[in-house]
């Protein structure tokens, strides 16, 4: 066999044959490889699928019971999670979103001066802009208010419970406000509220920017717009290019 002179790694086996692997090592390797890859495969299989059309509207469907059972009780907590292999390869980026989002933060200094920062920051590099975009994604989607049921009256001497909902302020903007449970606004089925996660993230962003820029207060403002869809080539949607501003409320530095 002709081997080029600089082929060192290929030539090695003929002069220095590899020591054969013993049977026990092959069996151990087989068990490890099979168990590991089965764990990975089952985790991918156990992911929710859909959304599929149901009587009550579109909904996700859980994975097969055998896979979810093995994953939840065995492979995920004791193997995949410690190894940080916790992605099921159903990539969120495969799915287009209904809304496109970016956010601004209005910072107020001690003398009342206002400074507005926009994220993703157009001056940042591609990779950092991408992470800023992820930060913006966590601020939506909103969720409808859960059904209110019977009117909740306060206990004697107590205040009426309040709920945070989006309230339209002026055209093209809405503000996060606390509304009493008895308010008629909550009877409107179109009323929405941010998720707990979105509120938590917005507060954390505001805290960070106050610290970083030595500001007295900060307000996160989410800008959203409907995604342009292929059908927009054929049908004109009047509200397509309208931008909605959602004010998460002012955070004051403690």
């Amino acid at each position: 066999m002709s081997v080029p002179m600089n082929d060192t790694t290929q030539r090695a086996p003929s002069r220095n044959p590899p020591r054969p692997l013993p049977l026990w090592l092959k069996v151990a390797g087989t068990v490890v490889a099979t168990g590991h890859l089965l764990g990975i495969g089952l985790y991918a299989l156990a992911a929710d699928s859909g959304p599929w059309p149901y009587n009550n509207g579109p909904s996700h469907s859980p994975g097969p019971a055998f896979a979810t059972s093995i994953v939840l009780n065995c492979t995920y907590p004791y193997y995949l999670k410690p190894l940080r292999m916790t992605h099921n390869y159903h990539f969120a980026s495969n799915r287009s979103s209904d809304l496109a989002v970016y956010f601004e933060v209005q910072l107020k200094g001690e003398l009342g001066e206002v400074r507005t920062l926009k994220f993703p920051d157009e001056k940042a590099n591609f990779w950092v802009r991408h992470r800023h975009d992820l930060l913006a994604q966590y601020l939506f989607p909103d969720q409808p208010l859960p059904p209110r049921g019977n009117q909740r009256l306060p206990a004697l001497g107590k205040e009426v419970p309040k709920v945070e909902v989006w309230v339209r302020a002026e055209p093209g903007s809405m503000r996060l406000k606390q509304v009493e449970e008895l308010d008629d606004l909550l009877r409107n089925p179109d009323v929405q509220q941010p998720t707990e996660r979105a509120k938590l993230f917005a507060q954390s962003y505001a805290r960070y920017l106050c610290r970083a820029h030595n500001a007295v207060s900060a307000e996160v403002i989410r800008h959203s717009r409907l995604t342009v869809m292929p059908m927009d080539l054929f049908v004109q949607r009047p509200e397509l290019f309208n931008e909605m501003k959602s004010y998460f409320g002012e955070y004051r530095r403690e």
Partner: protein
């Protein structure tokens, strides 16, 4: 020759593809051919997983992955505190809140060495720059058993922050994990290593070892550990790609062939005027977008059927698809990590002789020199892998 010995000489460990003249004898059914037993279908499993191969592929994968890890982490320089520390976008208070209500975290919150820094920015900076140094050492091949483990720890630590966690980061964790396993295993059974090398890693892993220790590199034996690691990477990569394709088929935009429309029409940049200009050619646009998108899906779904096939056309399909995917992921979807990961995953399917051809081509550098060298290598590949598998 024993069964194990003959199995090790089939180079890439590809089932039913003898890589030696012994293998050719066995295939012809000559009685007493030494490799006959190893070539039996019942030994396919052993051949697939436990054939000793050259470590070139694993080392190239380490260098490619290491460069990707470095690019990934370096790209955050100047923003590392805001993105990853407990003083950043997601601070300690928010993390504690997520700890109380687990459903608030978009991704599982796990362990991270970055939490060791606490609120200390100076300690965090030391961890960040130290991590970069470790990644550089691993890429260069310094003390790979040690730096391999540290590299995995570093990579998974940097995607622990839920605010900036991106699904592409998980793919880096996979590469780091298998490279760690591969470098821990390689040479432990078959290498003639000193105690220091058994603990820290072979000196030959060093990128410049060829020039520093020329005698040693020439004697480096093939490794079953390298093959085992490459097989794990290959199968895990196939699971990822096929699962992703099946997931896409659950999404209406992918079924209707308009998934590529969205990245081509960024919402905040598309205006009524640009849409108006596109209207006359709408049918033409949607026809080609849907065609391109279904070609992507076909490549993903068929990957298990062509990824292990040698030959110029199959390799062209594998690597050409990965290259197009990389360009698409970067320029179209603006996703920084999927492309390089897919390319590295596809490169893991290359056989040792193909890696040799690649490394020779890189070493020779200029295109003219590559052409001169390629001819004898292709002949050698034909001789070793069987003429039927290499198309001229």
């Amino acid at each position: 020759m024993s069964k194990d010995r003959s199995a090790t000489e089939f180079g890439a460990g590809e089932p039913r593809t003898p890589a030696t003249t012994d293998g050719a004898k066995a295939r012809s059914g000559e009685p007493g051919a030494p490799a006959a037993e190893a070539l039996q279908p019942s030994n396919a499993w052993t051949r697939f997983w436990f054939t000793a191969i050259s470590t070139t592929g694993m080392q190239c994968l380490r260098i490619g992955s290491g460069l990707l890890f470095l690019a990934w982490l370096l790209s955050f320089a100047g923003h590392q505190v805001e993105l990853f520390s407990l003083n950043g976008w997601l601070d300690r208070k928010a993390l504690e809140e997520m700890g109380r209500q687990e459903n608030l975290a978009p991704v599982p919150i796990g362990w991270s060495i970055l939490y060791l820094a606490g609120d200390s920015v100076a300690l965090f900076q030391a961890l960040y720059w130290g991590s970069l140094a470790v990644l550089a050492l691993f890429t260069l091949g310094v003390a790979t058993r040690f730096t391999g483990v540290l590299t995995w720890v570093i990579v998974v630590s940097f995607f622990a922050n839920p605010a900036t966690s991106y699904e592409g980061d998980y793919l880096l964790g996979i590469l780091a994990f298998y490279l760690m396993i591969g470098h821990l295993l390689v040479g432990q059974w078959q290498g003639n290593l000193s105690i220091t090398e058994r603990i820290l890693g072979a000196r030959d892993d060093f990128v410049f070892a060829r020039w520093l220790f020329p005698r040693r590199v020439a004697e480096r034996p093939a490794s079953c550990g390298a093959n085992f690691m490459m097989r794990l990477v290959q199968i895990h990569f196939v699971i990822i790609i096929v699962t992703s394709a099946l997931h896409k088929l659950q999404i209406s935009d992918w079924w209707s062939g308009v998934a590529l429309w969205y990245p081509l029409h960024p919402t905040f940049k598309t205006t009524a005027e640009t849409l108006q200009r596109e209207r006359p050619n709408a049918d033409f646009t949607l026809f080609y977008l849907s065609l391109a998108q279904y070609l992507v899906l076909a490549w993903q779904l068929c990957l298990p059927f062509f990824a292990w096939r040698p030959g110029r056309w199959w390799r062209g399909l594998l690597l050409g698809g990965a290259a197009i995917g990389w360009l698409g992921a970067y320029f179209l979807f603006q996703l920084p990590l999927f492309g390089p990961f897919v390319m590295l995953g596809c490169l893991s399917f290359l056989r040792p002789e193909e890696w040799k051809w690649v490394t020779d081509a890189v070493r020779n550098g200029l295109g003219g020199a590559v052409k001169v060298r390629a001819a004898p290598v292709v002949k050698q590949m034909a001789a070793s892998a069987g003429k039927g598998n290499i198309k001229k």
